[in-house]
Symmetry: C2
Subunit: 400 residues, 2 copies
């Protein structure tokens, strides 16, 4: 029998989705599951999306251009200008992708060859590991610590791992899975490093609408004029508009060589989805109030979650400044086992909690074993019940 | 300034889309262009698609499962059983992808490592080269000849290039760009080779509804029980339903290791587009009459095109048995130059023709220089005008 590739074998299963079979079995056993494992928000997608696709008047479902419909690129740039005041971003700097995932994959392939190295603060979004493996690219993690809320390490820590193979630094701001929102002085530290060592700086900003601190405005990597040739922005409409199923995102950069190279990869897959692009186009003029309400709601959830978690004996969760995730330290030795046990062996009044074991968010073997990632994408009432359920689960698990 | 990757630099621009800037300029100059360069059919998408998405009653545009909605996998299997009698294909053998493109990329990554080799009859679909380059996979082309209509070469020719790095053979049946439809004895020849050398056989069958010969029924690679662990089917709804913009396709195989590995790549990109999946689900019960009418229409087009082309002095086009492409030999030395010239320097009564230079459909450097790929996706009236335009263009070009 012919064999699968080493690449395929070594590819990790998604820590977010790998426990799904246990969840399905629990559901078949009549147990209700609170899904804290996946960043699928319960927020309604703006009605504009649904109305726009209802109004499509086409006969042939055609390809769009490989870089997306011109109107969508214009709409995207207009939205960034209106909502974020990011006047630097022009339609010609943008390439529409099939989700932020594809934006990342094509960006990595465009700037890193096999055995090249990319520096990523750890814990990191699990799929960064997979995208890198797809291109035989080596991830060099930089450790960040739960004790100081996962703040960016010093320049020294970066310079320890920079070598002639290093091509880029990748950050997610605010961060998935830690929820950490980078301060301006940290972004300036990154600017200094990439200029000194002539590296690309990829910034995954898909959660930029989800900042809860009392701090000043968000700073995008595109706002540093000195980084015009170094900065690559990855964006997606998934979280901003609660439109994860649209699979519409973008790469944006002032570096023409990068954008032209990304276009070659984009041409191979022909085009991003047509109907979903049209639907997204209809959402760009959603009223500001939509974002305000969503932000207030998530901030409440965050506060309820963090307070609830930290009141459980042995549990520690730093206060995340953004996104809708947190990394939580639990009083267990092996969170992979604990998360699976919560699904297969435990219920509290017929309910249980699904979480993502944090080991999959570390590229360093053995790290994160006593941590989980929690996505607070449930309403406050459900969130409280989920926390209670976790508390009871920990009691029973540790008394086994 | 940081540099793009060698992979990115060596990635060829799409031969189908690379002349687009010249076409746009011609349009700005008021010239009408007959698009024979791209397989974008003018056929109407079944109304069921548009009606289904109008009727979607959801509030949150959620991710689907990474392998696609269960209903879509069931619908796909049901469609294959009803329309093709392919009862072997079960929903659990299927993984829904974002177009046939993604199905190919994930399949290649799942079975070939960097420096592994894949055998593909040449001329070949240009993006096979790009997908292979993305994984640093080496394409070993097997020459097929325009003189015998691009029939499959003998086993000897395959065995000349098979070595310990060879992992798979990839065919497109019927073929893009040649239109060649493999005969059963050719498929059996491939069966013999892959069994003898323990290789995977990937069959891209996205054009299976477009067979014009008087020959017996189409044979899918999934119909060989001996190949259950070797055969991987790549499919797409793009051409079948004239729904290129949906970006919905699939990988299907009885080989569980392959499907599980493809799933790991699929999990990284989270999910295929939700709305388009729902729309496609609505099309699976389209009346048989839809396909019959489309088939009759394409067959007429093919006949008009082939007869018209072969009546031009110095032009040769074998009769394609399927798909809606043909590779045409022209009396020019450099079809890249000629195709560009047709857009930038020529018009016939204010009209011109856009074709894809065939060089991009060869992995062997220097081949196909006097050939073009033509997609017959225009109505017969336009097709006749396009042929006339090409004839006049050749006269002027060769009289320069």
């Amino acid at each position: 029998m012919p064999k699968i590739s080493e690449k395929g074998k070594s590819m990790p299963a998604s820590p977010i989705r790998k426990l799904a079979p246990f969840a399905e079995q629990a559901k078949r056993n009549g147990i209700h599951i609170y899904h804290l494992n996946i960043g699928q928000p319960d927020i309604e997608t703006p009605a504009q999306f649904w109305n726009t696709i209802k109004d499509i008047d086409r006969k042939v479902l055609e390809y769009s251009p490989s870089n997306g419909f011109e109107e969508v690129r214009q709409g995207y740039a207009g939205f960034f200008q209106t909502r974020y005041g990011l006047s630097q971003l022009l339609p010609e700097d943008i390439l529409i992708t099939t989700g932020g995932s594809e934006a990342l994959l094509f960006t990595l392939f465009s700037i890193l060859d096999a055995d090249d190295e990319i520096i990523i603060p750890e814990p990191l979004y699990a799929n960064y590991i997979g995208f890198s493996k797809s291109g035989n690219i080596k991830v060099r993690p930089i450790e960040t610590c739960i004790e100081d809320g996962f703040a960016l390490p010093s320049i020294d820590e970066f310079e320890k791992v920079i070598n002639e193979k290093t091509k880029a630094i990748l950050i997610c701001n605010p961060n998935n899975p830690t929820g950490y929102a980078y301060r301006d002085d940290e972004l300036k530290r990154l600017r200094e490093i990439v200029l000194k060592h002539d590296l690309f700086l990829i910034s995954d900003e898909v959660y930029r609408d989800f900042i809860y601190g009392d701090q000043k405005k968000y700073t995008s990597v595109l706002e540093f004029p000195e980084l015009s040739q170094h900065a690559i922005l990855v964006d997606s409409v998934s979280k901003r508009f609660s439109a994860c199923g649209a699979r519409i995102g973008m790469v944006a950069t002032k570096n023409k060589s990068v954008l032209e190279t990304v276009l070659k990869f984009a041409q191979q897959r022909l085009s991003p989805p047509t109907v979903e692009q049209l639907g997204v186009l209809g959402m760009f003029d959603v009223e500001e109030n939509y974002f305000t309400k969503v932000n207030v709601e998530y901030r409440k959830r965050r506060d309820v979650l963090v307070e609830g978690l930290n009141s459980i004996p042995g549990v520690f969760c730093p206060v995340p400044g953004g996104a809708f995730y947190c990394i939580v330290k639990l009083p267990v030795e092996d969170s992979d086992h604990f998360c699976q046990w919560m699904l297969s062996d435990f219920n509290y009044n017929g309910e249980t909690v699904m979480m993502a074991p944090a080991s999959g968010f570390y590229s360093t073997e053995g790290k994160g074993k006593n941590e989980v990632r929690i996505a607070y994408v449930l309403n406050i009432n459900d969130l409280k019940k989920a926390i209670k359920c976790l508390e009871e689960g920990l009691k029973v698990y540790n008394a086994r």
